[in-house]
Symmetry: C2
Subunit: 378 residues, 2 copies
């Protein structure tokens, strides 16, 4: 009975916490509507919430709501319908109803990454968001964001630039696009096989207390959340915190310590365990191994066909400086070589070898082991 | 016998590695000069190095060197003279001789932090170096750097601005100041009770292969090294690597991912375990507890006198927004409070409580525990 869920979701006072309490106690929307007043009162809901449920005051409005959603080509998903987004269902307080438009099922079939940040963002932040979204979307990642001005919009646009998929999670009803000048952005998202998702009934206007609820959907739909710019007290930091509580990866793009916009992202890296992102690979490499492998290119240059191990070992990336080539030739993937041995065999100075090793490590061609030993990566 | 050490240090082919080998085998400079040719040859030194040692070809030059150093008001320290810098002595390949000028002993009595970075630095990097050096020097930290243009010079200048101490570690002889237009900077450093340190004999010109040796002295004299800006293959990254090998703290200042100058520092944070630095406290808090305690102010506002625990608990920092004050009042340092309890007791919305908790955590007033619980920091 979709209608019961929609009715419950429209009931004043039934936010994520109350909904979670009701479901924990009764198991389904149908069961909530079979409950007695005293059973409901035990849950410490607002009195008007109990009244509304007992009176079934919104039953008719829920039916009209479903019909109106269909007219707008929106689907209505409910928590246990079998198509509800699996990652979102795992969180502590999933929305009991989702209004979705566009190619939402195909978007959610791809790995999903959220890219969020300040509304008041710098050119740097917008460029970084655009670049990361574009590079990830190009490789088949769905970019999820909150449709706000600034970083969110740049993330959606980056995905569109790459011809990729993107999901806009709204803090309003699907019929109340906000900000209004983003109307064209919605059209572009839907035209490009993207989607729109919200938990809020039709006609819900933009009110600030709804946006944190939207944030938990953004992180909840995603394997990980990348925060691009965030000032000290921004909503993006709350999204990052929610992602952590949902056991999802949290990433942050660093920025100049003199920029207010980067204070929050630098803090997330310094104090909250967020992974620093310099480029899209830094996101991909932290995802579950199978997904990471599908996104990341094989470690060496041209890979039209798989190389055998001896071929790989003979392979030298083009354009390496002489010292680096000399040191790389001395390294194998199996036997760690000590730096002193490398100095001796290469006949280079210790400083040249140290510099070459560092450069090779940064190119991700070798790995440093404890005790000044090194191996080649395969 | 200082002379023997100075003589050995002046011998061609006796770099840090050869010196370490000689001392491991013979124990002192005197013993090296008592060794037989075949004993020396077993160490695989260069033939001319063995010839020079056996012939004692530099004995007279070493005597003149010591006299000339005295004329310049430079002290000559040797590895086991009892005043040689203790932290530097701990490293794998300490210089066997140090030429020092100025108030080196007082400088080394304070906690020492290295601040280094690119010669080709941005205005952002120079400002960040200046600010960190100033803030640390003001609190009694000696700032060590490599006297190069760019970040190094900004670090020295920041310490001077604060009226603090700074040590310039040279890659040349003390009589061959380089770059030449830094002559005034040397004068200012010495005038401000700072010091100059080098392992290179008088007259040693600036040659690029000497600079990595200087880098290990910079990190070796310091409790930790802060890298402010570094491009992909810069010497500052080598200094950071050396500091790690010396088991010293490594810090890096993040920057925009679109800036070449910050590529290396962001990489150090992302891939090499460097601690992210937003402000001087981030450096201080990672130092040994006694030193950290001497630098860091007590955690709450005005501390002319120590507060009792009840006073501390009643104390509310000024200027906190209402929600944060309300939430902070509900937290104790002993009993973790769950976020749901805070929502209930504060009568604030969950989103306001979440935002307040995050803000309080960033102000370092509270600590988040697993399972959405929080305690107040004391």
């Amino acid at each position: 009975m979709i209608r019961d869920w929609v009715e419950l979701n429209m009931t004043p006072g039934v936010g994520p916490r109350a909904a979670a309490k009701l479901l924990e106690r009764f198991g389904s929307a149908e069961a909530v509507y079979s409950a007695t007043r005293s059973e409901l009162e035990q849950l410490r809901l607002l009195p008007e919430t109990v009244d509304t449920i007992i009176a079934r005051a919104l039953q008719l409005r829920a039916e009209i709501e479903i019909a109106n959603a269909r007219k707008l080509n929106a689907d209505v998903l409910i928590l246990d319908d079998g198509v509800y987004p699996a990652l979102l269902q795992e969180i502590y307080d999933p929305p009991i109803v989702l209004y979705v438009m566009g190619a939402w099922a195909e978007c959610l079939d791809q790995p999903c990454i959220a890219i969020v940040g300040s509304r008041k963002s710098s050119t740097y932040g917008q460029n970084a968001a655009l670049m990361l979204a574009r590079d990830l979307a190009q490789r088949g990642v769905t970019i999820i964001s909150g449709f706000a001005r600034g970083i969110d919009a740049a993330a959606h646009r980056g995905a569109l630039e790459a011809g990729g998929r993107t999901i806009a999670v709204l803090g309003t009803g699907v019929d109340r696009i906000y900000p209004r000048d983003h109307k064209k952005l919605v059209d572009d998202i839907l035209k490009n096989r993207g989607a729109i998702v919200t938990q809020f009934p039709l006609g819900t206007p933009p009110v600030s207390e709804n946006f944190p609820y939207r944030n938990r959907i953004i992180s909840g739909l995603s394997l990980g959340t990348v925060v691009v710019e965030a000032a000290e007290n921004s909503g993006s930091l709350i999204t990052a915190r929610l992602a952590m509580e949902q056991n999802r990866e949290v990433f942050a793009v660093p920025g100049n310590i003199t920029s207010r916009n980067s204070f929050g992202t630098n803090y997330l890296i310094k104090g909250a365990g967020a992974k620093l992102v310099q480029q899209w690979q830094d996101v991909a490499s932290e995802l579950p191994p199978q997904i990471a492998a599908s996104l990341l290119p094989p470690p060496f240059g041209d890979h039209k066909r798989a190389k055998s191990l001896p071929e790989k070992l003979a392979f030298m990336p083009e354009g390496l400086p002489g010292c680096e080539t000399a040191v790389l030739r001395l390294l194998s993937p199996d036997n760690p070589a000590h730096i002193d041995a490398l100095v001796e065999k290469s006949r280079l100075s210790i400083s040249d070898v140290t510099a070459a090793l560092l450069a090779l490590e940064m190119r991700e061609l070798i790995r440093a082991l404890p005790g000044k030993c090194f191996v080649r990566k395969m």
